[in-house]
């Protein structure tokens, strides 16, 4: 992943046939928009380190800056090829933004980049039996909340705070494990990161369920 500039990282401008370094988006000679480079991953597209711990403000800023250069609205008066490239850039940008912004998707994506998981999402189950017990208990607590009672919202809120704290703990573990993997390349660290990513997925689905319950309570 940490490849220096080389011949393979150059391409030829479709418009003026000049040389274009990878990832710049516009031809240095004729300033015309270039197709997105499919070899770049989402982190590279945003010029971010491929780490779980990420400066969200930088992501947001990078997203806006790139939108201001590539957005289709800026190409309405250009030819069809330029308009298509603009759309391809922004489509990729939006996809990267969606994935990197979300801790769970970001973790899953890092596992794909590291080659541990495939692109098809799979429902990997955490191997730790005590974790499964914990999740089952949470489910039971959720089922016990009677949404017709006046304290339903408050009880759901308590449960939410509890699960959000658990998410925070998993994310801290993920940050640490991914950083260790990136620094030393020990597969053990990557497996640990995957384990915590799977736990985060459980908690995230749980929160989605909480959202649905809250809506139900709110609409009554």
């Amino acid at each position: 992943m940490k490849e220096g500039p080389s011949q393979s990282r150059m391409s030829i401008c479709w418009s003026c046939r000049g040389a274009v370094p990878s990832g710049v988006g516009f031809c240095p000679t004729c300033r015309v928009i270039q197709p997105p480079d499919p070899r770049l991953d989402h982190f590279q597209n945003f010029a971010l380190e491929p780490l779980f711990t990420l400066d969200l403000a930088r992501l947001e800023q990078g997203y806006r800056e790139r939108q201001q250069r590539f957005h289709p609205d800026l190409f309405v008066s250009r030819g069809a090829t330029e308009r298509r490239y603009s759309m391809e850039h922004v489509t990729r940008l939006n996809e990267g933004y969606r994935i990197l912004k979300d801790p769970l998707l970001r973790g899953e994506y890092l596992l794909v980049l590291a080659g541990l998981r495939t692109r098809t999402p799979e429902n990997a189950t955490p191997s730790d039996p005590s974790f499964l017990m914990e999740v089952m208990e949470l489910r039971e607590t959720l089922e016990e909340v009677d949404w017709r009672r006046s304290d339903a919202m408050e009880r759901l809120g308590q449960l939410r705070r509890q699960v959000e704290a658990a998410c925070g703990a998993e994310m801290a573990e993920m940050g640490e494990a991914f950083a260790a993997w990136s620094a030393a390349g020990d597969l053990q660290d990557l497996r640990r990161a995957a384990e915590h990513t799977d736990r985060l997925r459980y908690f995230t689905r749980f929160i989605e369920e909480l959202d649905r319950r809250e809506e139900m309570v709110f609409s009554c």
């Binding site: 806006r64 939108q67 957005h71 609205d73 008066s77």
Partner: protein, 628 residues
Amino acid sequence: MSVLLDIAEPGQSLRPHEVRPEERKRVVGIDLGTTYSLVAAVDIQGKPACIPDDEGRFGCPSVVCYPPEGGVVVGEAAVAVGTRYPVDTIASVKRTMGRSLEDIRSSGHRSGYGVEAGDGGMVRLITSHREVSPVEVSAAILKYLAGRAEEALGGSLHGAVITVPAYFDDAQRQATKDAGRLAGLEVMRLVNEPTAAALAYGLDQGCEGVYAIYDLGGGTFDISILRLTRGVFQVLATGGDSALGGDDFDHRLCEFFLQQSGWDHPTAEVVQHLQALARQTKEMLSREEVREVSLSRPSGESMVVQVTRESLERMIGDLVRKTGMACRRALKDAGVEAKQLQGVVLVGGSTRVPMVQKFVADLFGREPLADIDPDQVVALGAALQADLLAGHSSAELLLLDVTPLSLGIETMGEIVEKIIARNSPIPTARSQDFTTFKDGQTAMAIHVVQGERELVADCRSLARFELRGIPPMTAGAARIRVTFQVDADGLLTVSAREQTTGVEQSVAVKPSYGLSDEEITRMLREAMVHGEEDWRQRLLHEARVESERVLSATGAALREDGDLLDDLELKRVKGFMLALWEASQKEDHEAIHRAREILDKETVFFAERRMDRSVRRVMTGRKVDDFQ
């Protein structure tokens, strides 16, 4: 888009803001609302302003009348004739745009005209002597406003931005676009109403941060969470209800009136009258605590009913609270908490209702902003967007929009598999792999749907197509990758590809409710043939209707307060009335217009004297209602 081509071609040195005045494109923003529609344009200084009609009114009632004697009447004039032809007068047509008969029936609305199922799932509106589609009715309103703008801007329009509720689905958007084309407009873009509103606020005030736009119009409710940062408007989430608005408040009150006055089977005339009365009463109750309303019973006798603001709030409370759910969901989707918001902007006439304002203040924990007229703000923002797209403005402003509803396909058991989640930034593309469920299956049906619900039946069907030529394999062995792609205009393309053979099939999703290109062409051709004559007829008809209104109003005033005039004055007024009546018998709409203006001018003193008298009457202790 061809009209925009010559501004910023590569190599040309002219910067967008250096466009010379004579090269400015005549572009407008149109707020096509449920109850009122407005048109606005940006002036040379870059300030947007709504364009009024001859009488100085900005809002044009979204009412179209097809009188039995022919022609089309739009706006105030349609309202005026509407009482005479309730069956031929169509109001709130926006509610029927891109909707099926079941959608409309389930909303429980009453209308004078009939509604029937038409081709391709659309409805047809049935008047006493003809059928029209909602698209045609909307086109009539757009054409009227475009005409108003062309008069003000001094030439034909190059393009228009039309606003739609953020929550409009593909079918409703397509129908709106069709209406624009049918009206002969180059639709530069459909912009979401809340986004337009934020645009109007953002440019005027240069504020940054996260904002909620709470937009309760006549027929639709929208909530949008937007982030404004240095020239970028990023829609974080939208939500709402495309069948909830101030009209529903009117309907509740109207039902109450019907029940109080004992009507079981009211005529179209009665319903129309009571709806207007309900609307008026609702508006008054935004300023006053209590209103007395005079209703006529089926027997003909009249009765007086008292309505308090409190009782109105009881009638509409559940509707107002319903908006809270969508707000919560939007905040959640945006990943923002209410306390992180920089402000809440109110849009739409229905936000004038005190209960709505209080509800919004409680929900978001802050007093909402309402600096810009909530009725005009959407049109103003649309004009700004049109100006940007035409390349006039030097402001580097970008709108990053999202898909309002989830998009997916039908899978086994009529369950929806979502492929693009709601509130995804556009343009976007996502793929998902599917497989066959029978041994030797060689074709797969792809059913594209839009909506948030789990079951296909609860979502809106957008398109169906079939992927054929899958090589026979055991069940579950084939890998079929379905890709959804949404472009910057929000239009969806779906493709399916069998991975081992590369067999591919794709479809640009044309919502089943839209008009086909042939239909549009046919309607345009028909409109062209009759265009000029229609236009002249319409102006004439409107002038006649208006003169009739003025004559009957003046006549009534004379009967009531004629004693305020001396003989000579009375003679003069009657003379001007006669002149107007004579003009209205002829074919020259301008002459009618002039005669009406003279009558208006010459009766100003009479109106003033009547005003003095009624003030004196009130002073002597009688209720205002006694004069109505």
